[in-house]
Symmetry: D2
Subunit: 309 residues, 4 copies
């Protein structure tokens, strides 16, 4: 039985891999992607997603969402991601986003799926927050919301305190965690850093796969390898594709727990910090946080996909 | 030449008078009202607006907007306003809001008016903020945005620091003042408290006008008179109808100036405080703040309207 | 019966006049002054105070206190005050501050006065906060604490929201208002701006007084006249000397009320804002705020003093 | 050559062990302890310290410091610590604190030691902050300040975000990290949780040591064992005694690094969070943070001490 899903994305690097996973995993019924301001310039993100469609030889409707965070000015991660596609380019004629706004598309697809729609949000949560503010019942219409963001009592990336997605739009993240979704969190640290980093050994294996998908992966993901290594991360990081994987292959999750998650919106030092309380502070749980995965299984999930021709 | 406008309202008390002004002032071309969470229960606000249509014997489309502030839980002013209509009731059959969401309606009407649409926002700014986040160009499409909110370096109402509309949704207010609208502010203090309070003398004059409109005014507005007097305000307050008046009758404004307006979103003590800097602190102006009006002219504007039969 | 007092000061301009009032008013028993970081450089403030002693031909012990605000870096008002003494200078030989720290001196003098000591604090509240943290009972040992600071639901000076003394050290101000002092507040606006500004007419009268004190006043206070006028204040401002006056001549106070005063410490936009709640928000009163004075009486109090030879 | 030190403490549980280490380690020249508001009632803390002197059969001067955090109300950890001494009691006659205030004692001892004084701060940093505010040069007079507090990009204890010492007085902690001390941080997590927890095996070994010191350790530290286990910590925690150990036995530190440490003071959700930036965010280092210790060496250090008769 296919799994209907939408991916909400600020397409750069691992977002591309996540979209590939949504397009190419057999059990996935990817109904569209929605674009949100995040990693790199909005129009560049759109191009990155179209390039991903192109290499997958498959496309789904793309809906454009918010070009700005909810309350704050946009801050990019271009210093990390460059153009987010390792300099790849192509002819974009024939690729056009839909006219419908991402927020309206999310609400419509939720209606059409009648309680079966899943959303994997791998960028700042602006679109998801706007959707639930436009229609509060959206939270209960979504079967499962997987959010890539925050760290589970561990280091951030854009600051010591904060991971990028929540930092860019902390108010949106706060709204989402207050809204009553059935939400699962894929955190940056420790989870991604421990179990979803591909070191040079894995990257070498991928480089030897003779498929356009693998070549695309190498071009797109290896672009930040030098940067990652310079900040002590021994490989490319895959939190976004992991987020799609945990929806489509829940057996990859080997440990998770209920947490109360709240987001800092009132201070600059800790802007976007996700307070993940593990149950000893008397706060009601509002999210499942993934603590451990089957890392080999996740790697093989991606390797198998990249081997498709 | 008629003035096209939309009123964005949390309909209670003076919002009703503002809607009357929009419906009945000859030069007004009221194209709709949009409802936003604020003073009293959302559904009660809808009823209050329909009662206003009913007494005016004229109606325009009503679009329902956000039932919640952007980021925070809703806080009502029901302790002040009661039901916001002085206990009036009626048969609501035949009165139905439109299906279109207020935010979409605002964007559509802005398109249709081709640069000529005015918006008078007399509740929390949630709808306006959502509209400008959905389409950033909305700010330049609106010819003139009149906002009732904040105080100009003077006392608040819901707290010492803050006026109700900005307190309820400070993030929305911050978005609106950052968005680039041509915006005019009608502040609570000192302007409203000095020049838009109707004491018992004026209320007595209104009570003697033998029209349904005047009776409606008396029922609706006098409901909070005892409360107002208990907190030192010698009459009923009319910031919302004043906001409509300054759009329709700009000659009523006798003094205004350019200010930088920014809204406090990061602290509880000063939540919703509007920092209105009058030009000596080196901040760029982003709003016109009304400092003085022709108070007699405003009073007569309302009295004339209430005398219509 | 003399009134024992200490003046805690960041000596510049009107602080000098306040110290003169403490030295020269017959009923005052000025037991010392304590220096705190504020208006201008700390060492410059010390010199300004010694010049004041010199022109008064009378001196009291001077104790040096905190050279920094409690938590934050120091911010000066030198752009407003210059050196705070209108460029005056003198031979400082023979003038030496005491070795005892201001905080210890305050605590010792409170002990010695056995419940009769008054403190007039006309700079940032760092010293007073440190004293009450070193010994919590200090709050009840002080008979009357007069604080110059904040605005009473009116404009600030260093920002729209905040008056300088509370802005510079908001945490200290918060501590003081939480500590249980019998405290009276002399606010910047509206009180000082309405009733303690000397326009060119009064300044001309002072300029014609043929005493060293009047010459000193003119040199020191008129230095900021051009600045004041450039920001819309039609004369020199005298909140500090007013604070001494209301202690020594309580009959000058014609209207005051009980308020809850709390200070913003958690936000930059409203840093140092004093929330003065006038009794309608359900908060317990912790301060008396002066609302009106006998402005002519205050002016004559200073003119008489400046005429002393 | 003996190492002169002062321990600043909120004496409960492991603070007692830390004081024992200061008293009984041969190379330590403990010149006094200073008491600060923290874990349990201030007077209870004083008793706990005297009991520690008593069991060590050795005492040093005790100076009483701040009974309140700098800006905020006191919050105890009595729910965790009980009385902080496992219900032990004794005859306190003959035990008296000094008259000198802790802050003055710190400053005097720094003078007397002429650049050689070390301070180990194992409670909230109120006293240290007050000392450096009273005399800014104190920061450079102290040879080495070891601070127990915060977490190094890992979970807190009193909240998800914050460790108790920094949570109780975040403003004091911020002052201390801004002041220019040569400061080393012993964090709660991961360091203490990974390497300074004594499980039931070690506690059993200690219980079998036939000395008054070991009996005292067992009574005092095991009191919270059940609580610790209930929140997932498999033993008693020893961050305070570790802090003394790293000063006296620097060879126990096997890994440390330079960090920028800043403390959250402006938000409730993240109150007291220590942002420890490890060098990739462009912030200047202001502290050494201990990342790993020789855990066996530390355990043996304490076991040896408890075996003393
Ligand atoms: Ca992403
Ligand atoms: Ca309204
Ligand atoms: Ca002053
Ligand atoms: Ca401790």
């Amino acid at each position: 039985m296919p799994i209907p899903l939408v991916i909400d994305t600020d397409t750069a690097q691992d977002d591309c891999v996540a979209i590939l996973a949504g397009l190419l995993t057999p059990e996935a019924d990817l109904r569209g992607i929605t674009m949100v301001a995040g990693n790199v310039g909005f129009d560049r993100q759109v191009k990155n997603a179209f390039m991903t469609f192109n290499v997958a030889a498959k496309q789904v409707p793309m809906y454009l969402g918010s070009r700005l965070p909810l309350v704050r000015p946009w801050e990019s991660a271009e210093n990390v991601h460059g153009d987010g596609a390792g300099g790849l380019d192509m002819d974009f004629s024939g690729f056009e986003p839909e006219a419908e706004h991402a927020v309206d598309a999310l609400l419509r697809m939720a209606d059409e799926a009648a309680g079966e729609l899943n959303v994997v949000a791998i960028g700042p949560l602006t679109n998801i927050a706007l959707a639930v503010r436009k229609r509060p019942e959206f939270a209960s219409q979504v079967k499962h919301l997987v959010v890539m963001g925050g760290s589970n009592n561990a280091r951030g990336n854009i600051t010591a305190a904060a991971e990028f997605n929540f930092y860019v739009d902390p108010e949106a993240a706060k709204i989402v965690f207050d809204a009553g979704f059935n939400v699962t969190v894929v955190p940056w640290a420790p989870l991604t850093l421990k179990q979803a980093v591909f070191g040079r050994d894995v990257l070498d294996r991928i480089a030897q796969i003779e498929t356009p998908l693998a070549h695309f992966f190498t071009s797109v993901c290896s672009a930040t390898l030098a940067f990652d290594e310079s900040v002590g991360i021994p490989g490319t990081t895959h939190p976004d594709s992991l987020s799609v994987a945990v929806l489509l292959r829940p057996e990859l999750v080997t440990k998770s727990a209920q947490y109360n998650v709240d987001i800092e919106t009132g201070s600059e030092l800790t802007r976007g910090y996700a307070a993940m309380s593990w149950g000893v502070h008397g706060l009601a749980a509002n999210a499942t946080v993934i603590e451990e995965i089957d890392a080999d299984g996740f790697r093989d999930f991606l390797l198998d996909m990249l081997g498709q021709t």
